[in-house]
Symmetry: C2
């Protein structure tokens, strides 16, 4: 009873706005995460049991437990915590156990103790049904203080709010929270299941590839590692891309690696300088093969405490994703699709629509926000219009429908009755909906409406409408991307949409020499709830084609890739692969607000380890063996830097 | 029949002098490596089967195979290879299959082809019992050339000798060899079994720790990674030591990681700048707990094609190892133990023994080389004496016993009869043995004899005596190391024998303040056949003790470790751990001549990637964001460097 309210407070913090589908509590962790044989959590150590595992079935057993003092009340009982849960300890009151009582009553909170005693029933009326160990308690015989705890910078209770900076500075304390324990254990178990699937079920070989490598063409985001040879540097690669392809040339056939990757993007919110990807490559495979493999992988490794994943995943072309959702990573948990209503307004009197449609690729597009007129407010619409003007230099036209299907809009009087009817039909507009309409070039209009669609979803959810069920995990393949993009700064030049090793779509190969910008690539992205969680492609295995694309189309320095080009000449099998972003995937599954919450020791958004203060200064003599010296910025440069830190820190 | 001799040639190269216990052949790989359910090696891809798996049980089946052309004979058949083995393909000779014949006959060796056909019996008398697929062949209906192969720099056959430089330059071709396929697949499967044991059986959590970290005290061998903040550097740590301890403070309870580690030692034979360790840490554990865990881990993950590992492993104190084997990593597969024979020679007339025994810690030690008089030659003895003189400034005294038990030695006439009898008894000397005797300070004499013991073993094995059975894997724990060593360059100062986080032996704690050099540490090394394959310790969990050792005894800059010291104050549990050197372990298990043979893409001993030419020059503008510039050596420095490359490249 008396623990009930306390425990519910402990768990209160767990209900996060997004993505928290269940509220697991201490002690449920090992049960919910593993459907297989339960591991021996107390083998090889001083305890007989974990705190969280004791039940009525253990009554009468002599147990030894080790853990942290989580709570103590009136010197009569305390609650001991380990990573498996909480258990109630009765502090002995009789004279003969005075030393045990002294230890247990005097040890500060979060001290580490070892206790031995008997598992007994709780007295009638004191059973706590909310606590997994709530039917029992421990009658203690001996106690030992293993380590006393000094005054903490914050309490180890999930409901105690602390800034992220404080959490990162004392990460070793933050890791004691239920949520971090849950996240890291789920991560470990999910990766283990992935390994079982790949290694044990499908014969993949786990190969470790080097991280001290050579810089790659265009690898401006690669960290450098000075070597002991003057002027020679290793690079920390952004992915094992070259190595995985070389492994296929080497006949490894099926490769995977939980690969550490590095990307120096300076300060970026929710990015990490080092991150992890599930890296996969197969020989003799096509796009469908990789997709079926990944669907099986995710289904197999999916956490037991979530709804199972349905396979196969739906698939959508890039063109369709852009036209319907305004993005290459649509969140398909809700509709609000973009509709092309150009034809409705061919004869409109509304000037900005007229202007747009007069242009060669002009279109009019709209989304219908269901119940938008009911939930969205004037200031929301202002925000939307300003956003469109500021980020897209686009005008948007909101139309509200009141309960009597009257149209309310600054432009309402200019919309003709037939337009109104046609629009209603096309967009399935109902009472109290809101329509947001814009005009312009196809891609730009779609992109804007894609953004507004998400903003409207945010706004509706702030008002209590559930659009995106956090318990729903909607995977989607996006395929048929263009192989090349024109460079923004120099539109006559091409760059790879993804990377230069992506094979062109077989039916577009004839366009490579004539209209390369129209060639689709055999690239596929995996999207989960509107987030890109993976991407891959069938690779080019023909050396001549690879040389043509690198040298002729992309104007890259092929010298940097001569080893790969040569390898393709020596019997490279057809191959393809994919990489899943593990941090992002776990972040979505756990509903964590940031990828930092699924990483044990993350860097801050500025790339700092706030706990150890890395990166740090280095004595000059330690630079000497690497033949480097620091180019200290001049005063004026430093001023520039402090005035615009983001500019200084990003690439 | 006709394939038999060819296959035996293919495998000839596999019989390496050391450590090759079985001679697995193509096709036996998946069978020998996995006792569990056989994975689906052909799921999701264009083939129906692998080349190596087809047997008589597949007769009549329509199959599609993909692989490399390994061999072709008289345009009538070819041998197709994939990573699972070899299979014989009958090239169709009838007119209607002319296009198939053309493809299969014209494709160069090592081209990649896809064939479809029927599994048929070989004609009577043509069954090849040495080939796993030797009972069947494939009657081909269709063939497709997937990629033609240009002229190779070397043939893909294990028996074709090539320099290691060539192998590393074309690593992707070298990986096609049976031996490299075997090594990498064994590595993958063994690590997978380790993960099962740790994760699924014993509840360990796989946690990824950062590699971009802060430099550690005395971390002179750490690579630096410049950050975008002027003068600030990350370090690539030598191990996750601090993180694993912090995870214990964070209540993770049982951590493991297959961890990438970095060590910049310049040029060192058989070392790699990046390497992998199985990194483990547990809370509430003692030395015995870790040892039993590791024994179970190795037994569970041990390859099926080797003899099982017997547990528990024997254990030996550091003092005993030094006294008996002259090293802290004894190879206990053979005897030739060091015997202290000081008492035999108390009254000797031999001058250098007299002199040695007259000194305070003087000893006389010897090893008995069984059958040494029979197998070792005069030049061997000269070599041994020169080695002792050169490396240890020590004199050694060889004594040969001929078949009639006559003693032959430059000093024989000075050895008295009673000394002779006592020596024979103590050392169990037999006919045709050789005794090597030296005198001096205990540690130095043991160390020298330990080296000579191994050299004699090498010499005897060159003469055909089997001392160290390559099929035998003798694990040994070495324990009770000293906690501190005195610094060679400054004998009044102490340094950690292993690292400063090792807990002192409980029974020696009282010596910390008085005679710290006598304190033993709770450190344990795991030795396999004379090689250190792991090491670990119970850690200090008491902040005060850790501060005392770091600041007072070791005079380290505690500021660099303030986060760890603070963490110990906040309820750190008692904890301990270990790290196994995965590369070395696999090297010993596979009997590979170098750790480079169990790593997919190793660096040369000078730290170069010979395939891609890393490390490489970097354009100046790519250094700018990191605020560094190259300090080019002056001409005279460069001359120095080229004259003594090893000095220049080592730390």
């Amino acid at each position: 009873m008396y623990l009930g309210s306390w425990l519910s407070r402990l768990c209160r913090d767990l209900s996060r706005p997004i993505g928290k589908t269940t509220q697991p509590i201490w002690g449920s962790l090992s049960r919910s995460l593993s459907s297989q044989r339960i591991p021996e959590f107390s083998s090889f150590v001083a305890r007989t049991n974990t705190c969280g595992e004791l039940r009525s079935s253990h009554l009468g057993q002599e147990v030894t437990l080790c853990g942290w003092i989580q709570y103590r009340r009136q010197n009569t009982f305390l609650v001991l915590r380990d990573c498996h849960g909480l258990v109630q300890i009765i502090i002995p009151q009789d004279e003969s156990a005075a030393s045990v009582k002294k230890i247990l009553c005097e040890a500060p909170m979060e001290s580490v103790v070892k206790v031995s005693g008997t598992v007994i029933s709780r007295p009638p009326g004191q059973v706590n049904p909310k606590m997994p160990t709530g039917e029992i308690e421990i009658k203690v015989k001996t106690a030992e203080l293993l380590n006393a705890c000094k005054k903490l910078p914050f309490e180890i209770k999930d409901f105690v709010k602390k800034t992220e900076a404080l959490r990162l500075q004392y990460r070793y304390l933050d890791l004691r929270s239920f949520q971090m324990q849950y996240n890291l254990r789920l991560r470990s178990q999910m990766v283990m299941k992935m390994r079982e699937y790949l290694c044990n079920l499908h014969g993949f070989v786990d190969v470790e590839t080097p991280t001290l490598f050579k810089r790659t063409p265009g690898g401006a985001k690669e960290f450098l590692v000075p070597s002991r040879e003057p002027g020679k540097f290793y690079s920390l690669p952004q992915s094992p891309q070259q190595f995985k392809q070389l492994l296929m040339v080497g006949g490894l056939d099926r490769y995977f690696q939980v690969a550490r990757c590095y990307r120096d993007e300076g300060s970026r919110p929710d990015r990490q300088p080092e991150f992890t990807q599930i890296d996969i490559e197969m020989s003799f495979v096509d796009q469908t093969g990789i997709q079926r493999l990944i669907e099986g992988l995710l289904q197999y490794s999916w956490p037991d405490d979530k709804d199972p994943v349905a396979i196969p995943f739906p698939s959508m072309t890039f063109a369709e994703a852009l036209a319907t959702y305004g993005t290459d990573k649509p969140d398909i948990r809700f509709g609000m699709k973009i509709v092309d209503i150009s034809d409705v307004f061919r004869n409109t009197e509304i000037r900005f629509l007229q202007d747009a449609l007069a242009k060669p690729h002009g279109t009019v597009k709209a989304i219908c926000v269901h119940e938008g007129a009911k939930y969205l407010r004037r200031q929301d619409v202002e925000f939307i219009r300003e956003f469109a003007a500021h980020h897209y230099s686009q005008e948007v036209l909101p139309i509200f429908l009141n309960a009597k299907r009257n149209w309310s809009s600054p432009f309402a009087k200019f919309i003709m009755e037939e337009e109104r009817l046609e629009l209603t039909r096309l967009m399935e507009i109902q009472e109290e909906d809101m329509v947001i309409l814009t005009a312009g070039e196809h891609e730009k209009a779609c992109s804007l409406l894609g953004k507004l669609r998400l903003q409207c979803a945010d706004l509706l959810e702030m008002r209590g409408v559930v659009l995106r069920d956090p318990a729903l995990f909607s995977f989607l393949w996006v395929v048929d991307f263009p192989l090349f993009l024109t460079k923004e700064e120099s539109p006559t030049e091409l760059e790879s949409a993804h990377h230069p090793f992506t094979a062109p779509h077989p039916s577009d190969i004839h366009l490579l020499h004539t209209e390369p910008e129209k060639v689709r690539g055999q690239h596929y992205d995996l999207v989960l709830n509107g987030n890109e969680v993976g991407g891959g492609s069938v690779r080019i295995h023909d050396a001549q084609l690879q040389r043509f694309i690198l040298a002729t189309l992309l104007k890259e320095d092929v010298q940097l890739l001569s080893h790969l080009l040569q390898a393709l000449d020596y019997g490279a099998p057809p191959h393809g692969g994919i990489a899943l972003g593990l941090d992002r995937l776990l972040c979505l599954i756990t509903g964590a607000p940031s990828i930092r919450d699924v990483i044990a020791f993350p860097k801050s958004y500025r790339g700092h380890d706030l706990m150890s203060n890395a990166p740090d200064s280095v004595p000059l003599e330690e630079l000497k063996p690497y033949h480097i010296q620091v180019s200290w910025p001049t005063d004026s440069e430093e001023e520039d830097a402090s005035a615009t830190p983001s500019k200084n820190l990003s690439s």
